[in-house]
Amino acid sequence: MSSTTKASRIGEELWKTRVDKVNAELVTLTYGTIVAQLCQDYDGNYQEVNKQLEKMGYNIGMRLIEDFLAKSNIGRCANFRETADMISKVGFRIFLNIAPTVTNWTSDNNQFSLVFDENPLADFVELPDDGRAQDELWFSNILCGVLRGALEMVQMQIEAHFVSDVLRGDDATEMRVSLVRYIEDEMPPEEE
């Protein structure tokens, strides 16, 4: 577990010294407004909203990784387990000041879950009670895209999706992340 504690120490340190803080309500309300507006624009087609959020996240992630590496100054991870710790203890710490729990590894070390004890994006949120949002909308889906975009820029193709969300009445908010493959250096990033 030493890599985990090391990662959380790095995360704490960076959060204290290198990160500009911004008001939490500003973030929450801005993100909430974006999702609400998307829901309105796509006329309650929540699959499409999920897709758009993921795409927005992907574009954020591709840039954010640069900022992340510049701030943290950490090198390449030795394996996917270390990557997971870096995502949770450093990445989420410096950008959202949370550290989701890494858990539920598969035996081949290619899939894990991030369990969010708190989620600043979803403060105050209650999903619309139209009978479908509870089953179809992944409110924080932008995070999946962020991970996908960020890891793609460091030669990891991953797939991320939410499997449960407290907003839907589930016990926990859980995101499943699976490594598809390591991208060879020469490959151009897929266009989106």
Binding site: L29, G32, A36, E126, L127
Partner: protein, 196 residues
């Protein structure tokens, strides 16, 4: 004591309402209005009729809690009001329990100013005879205009206000929309159980 609580938008559109009874002194939290067959619309009517008083009182001082502002003697209904800075009005109608017996009925029709004092005296005299009346005499219910009641209502309003703020911060809530959140309703119920 029975309560009817309403949130009105700045343009007097009802956004939320709930009826509940006291949970203090062994109350079961179920509203028992004096005239149950008409209570449903009469309560709304009484509350809306107090809006003029609210509008008069709201500029008198800087407080958000306006305390007891209006009384409707025929139903012995007391209205307390709370204003939010954005202009929403929280109005709480409270009605002391219908004390049984001829004495109580005689007192029940009295003027608004006198009711608070007289009903507490009646409650005290009943205490020897009936345990139910004793329970109500010691509770805030017996005296709707007492400082204790004002304080309890203030606490209730403050807690509802806190939850109201969270509810309107929900990105899927649009200003002026009816509050349908089940979470908010349960929190209001909980606040009622806690303070009233």
């Amino acid at each position: 004591m029975s309560y009817y609580f309403t949130i009105l938008s700045p343009t007097d559109v009802p956004l939320f309402n709930i009826a509940f009874g006291t949970s203090k002194s062994g109350g079961d939290g179920i509203a028992r209005f004096r005239f149950p067959d008409t209570a449903q619309y009469m309560n709304q009517f009484i509350i809306h009729s107090s809006l003029d008083m609210v509008e008069e009182a709201q500029w008198m001082n800087g407080n958000m809690y306006l305390k007891h502002i209006d009384t409707y003697p025929p139903a012995s209904a007391y209205i307390s009001a709370f204003l939010t800075p954005s202009g929403a009005r929280f109005l709480l109608l409270h009605q002391p329990p219908h004390a049984a017996g001829p004495n109580a009925n005689a007192g029940g029709g009295g003027g608004g100013g006198g009711i608070g004092g007289s009903s507490s005296i009646l409650g005290g005299s009943f205490a020897a005879g009936s345990s139910a009346a004793r329970a109500s005499a010691s509770s805030i219910a017996a005296n709707p205009t007492s400082p204790q009641t004002e304080e309890a209502v203030r606490q209730f309003m403050a807690e509802v206000y806190e939850n109201y703020v969270k509810t309107v911060m929900n990105p899927f809530y649009r200003q002026g929309m009816e509050i349908r959140s089940a979470v908010f309703r349960s929190r209001v119920t909980a606040a009622g159980r806690k303070w009233l």
